[in-house]
Amino acid sequence: MAMQGIPYSEALRNYSVKTFREPAGEVQEPEQLLRSFHPDYYPGTTVTLRVGVNRGDACHHQLAEVLQADARIDEADLAGAAIRETDVLVIGGGGAGCAAALVAARAGARVILTTKLRLGDSNTVMAEGGIQASIEKDDTPQMHLDDTLRAGHYRSDRRLVARMVADGPDVIRWLIQQGMQFDLDKYGDILLRRAGGTSANRVAYYRDYTGLEMMRVLRESVTNSNIEVLDYSPAVELLSNEEGHCGGAVISSLKDYSYTLVKAKAVIVATGGIGRMHINGFPTSNHFGATGDGLVLAYRLGAGLRDLDSFQYHPSGLTWPQHLAGTLITEGVRSAGAYILNGQGERFVDELETRDLVSSAILRECAEGRGVEVGDDIRGVWLDTPGLELRNPGTLAARFPKLIQLGKRSGIDLYHQPLLIYPTLHYQNGGVVIDENGCSSVPRLYCVGEVSGGIHGKNRIMGNSLLEIISFGRRAGAHAAEKSHRRGHKKVSIEHVSNLRRELTLAEMPMEKQGPALFPECAKFENDSDYDGLRRNRKGRP
């Protein structure tokens, strides 16, 4: 276990606001730092998958558990279920799903968009920092590509990154055409800021509300189109045709507690990330529905996954007060010049290093007794907001309205007292293997956004995710619509679930757990009698 840190009250007494503090200098032996302190390398975190296309690959044990879980439904649940047909079915109402649906519908396809809760309840709406696009005159798409590959430790799919960075400027134009605003300078040019680990100012933003602005505009576009939206309707299984191609999905309704089969010529999965699985027991910055459902759905149908052992822990999650643990403080605060200090008041890492290194350095300080200790196993380091304000008066109020709100809710005056931070589980670096149109290895199954893998390698830079979701959302939407003149499927079923059960039995795997999870444990969905109608056939299973 980690060494006892410096008690909170003592560390606070030792803290004083200063204009100058010695910089920490470059990280010595970055690989060593990651190996010793990054949670991806904690001993015993990965296991080998025993079932499915990725059999033999390393995978985080919590993710392995859901990938190799039993299905939530079987044939009996579908008896009497309503059947619908469409050209394109989009699963997930965040940024990626809305972009895909809009493009597909405008290209003439009939589109149904189904989403777990309210349309727009997503990680997208929470994004603060901004979206990357090489726009500045001394920046180029090539530099954007190089930065992305370097930050991802050269483990990205280069072709995907090349498409994404080339799309960047047009993605911004497309968003403006949907009615999204960006912060502009006095001549009307887009303002850009720098992300940690990059070589140019490349992040476009709207205050610290970039995701909110993006999501409410996309939601408005979708609800004002001919896309049919099914909200409060989580998908619980994909459908397959005789050849094993994707043929739609089984949707459950939280409104009338029934199942519907939606047959589709193409399915676009855009279900986002896994934060609420609390990988390695970390708190998370993610929204309530981020339970990795899309990975489970796609894997069962035979789609290949990648980098299942790589997650992003954002360096600045609030850790105290405890009821707000995990809440994100945008990297923008460090971009603006805030320092990170240990319990002795020293800087210990270049604050604008890549996220994996900064997080690992924080974990090192805490493990070696230089962190600040609140008790009950809660520790962290300081984010020096008073120092930032002293060096750049007015910055906090002008640029970080959301952060000031957070200070108020924490009962901490961030003009005079630093915030206690600790890494928070933020992003799933890996996901479903896709090509440049978002196609997975299963015909007619597309996966876009955070659920997909390959773009960020082993570490993502701020702003590349919002770019990815629109870039690949649009690509998949266009490609799926183009194919929608094909004939529909004759017969669709959940036959692949029987195969899964056979494989699980052969591998002597436990079958108690069922997936996808749909909701985090704290919400007790499985015990909620309101939803008994969706579990009628559970008990009778062999």
């Binding site: 400027p169 055409q177 999204m180 040019d189 909110l212 409410r216 505009v217 939601r219 008790g375 007790k524």
Partner: protein, 209 residues
């Protein structure tokens, strides 16, 4: 700082009496007490507008509209969750407005009720984000869309103002319309346009091998 030393607070949420630490939000309190809660939960950070609640505080007869993830429980508070915000009956496509001279005409066609605002303040009073909603509607009716939109920067589309409006104006959708037309017709950044032009001419090739 363990739970024992903290004061517990008694609240009633959806008819259930709950004892929980006072630092918790209404949603956290429900979970803390072991009750399931799935609907009306979203970002848990006050930006998605899903967690709509009606609140009555001890000793008061006033009922306020709030966001469940942002409201901390207080002794004697009564809370009920609302579900499924309803969509607006107004529809439009930005693409059908041919140029910015026509925005106001289209606005009157899309939102004919906005002209009938009775200045009842219902929308402004109900807004959990403190937005001057009524003023926003008034500015939009006058065609001052940029100014109107600026008021809605923090709008989370919780629809409280829409429910409160006796004239079915859908004031939040008026606000988002105002913001969207401002971007659609008036954001023309030269740095972006210049970059798009260079890409079009093929001047910025990427080595993708």
């Amino acid at each position: 700082m363990s739970e024992k030393t903290e004061n517990l607070v008694k609240v009633t949420i959806d008819g259930k009496e709950i004892l929980a630490p006072g630092k918790l939000s209404t949603i956290q309190a429900l979970w803390h007490a072991g009750y399931p809660r799935v609907k009306s939960v979203g970002c848990l950070e006050g930006v998605c507008g899903s967690c709509r609640i009606m609140v009555r505080r001890a000793g008061s007869t006033d009922v306020t509209m709030e966001l469940g993830c942002q409201t901390l429980i207080e002794e004697g508070m009564e809370v009920s969750f609302l579900v499924f915000p309803t969509p607006s009956h107004h529809t439009y496509e930005l693409g059908e407005i041919r140029n910015s001279w026509e925005v106001q005409a289209h606005f009157s066609r899309i939102f004919p009720e906005a002209d009938h605002c009775r200045n009842c303040h219902g929308c402004t009073v109900s807004c959990p984000k403190g937005i001057q909603v009524e003023r926003g509607v008034e500015l939009a009716v006058k065609g001052r869309f940029r100014e109107a939109g600026e008021l809605f920067v923090e709008c989370v589309m919780c629809n409280f103002c829409m429910t409160a409006c006796p004239e079915f104006i859908a004031p939040n959708h008026v606000g988002i319309f105002a913001r969207r037309v401002t971007a659609y017709f008036h954001i023309r950044p030269s740095n972006l346009i210049n970059r798009l032009e260079k890409l079009r001419r093929g001047e910025l090739q990427i080595r993708d091998q």
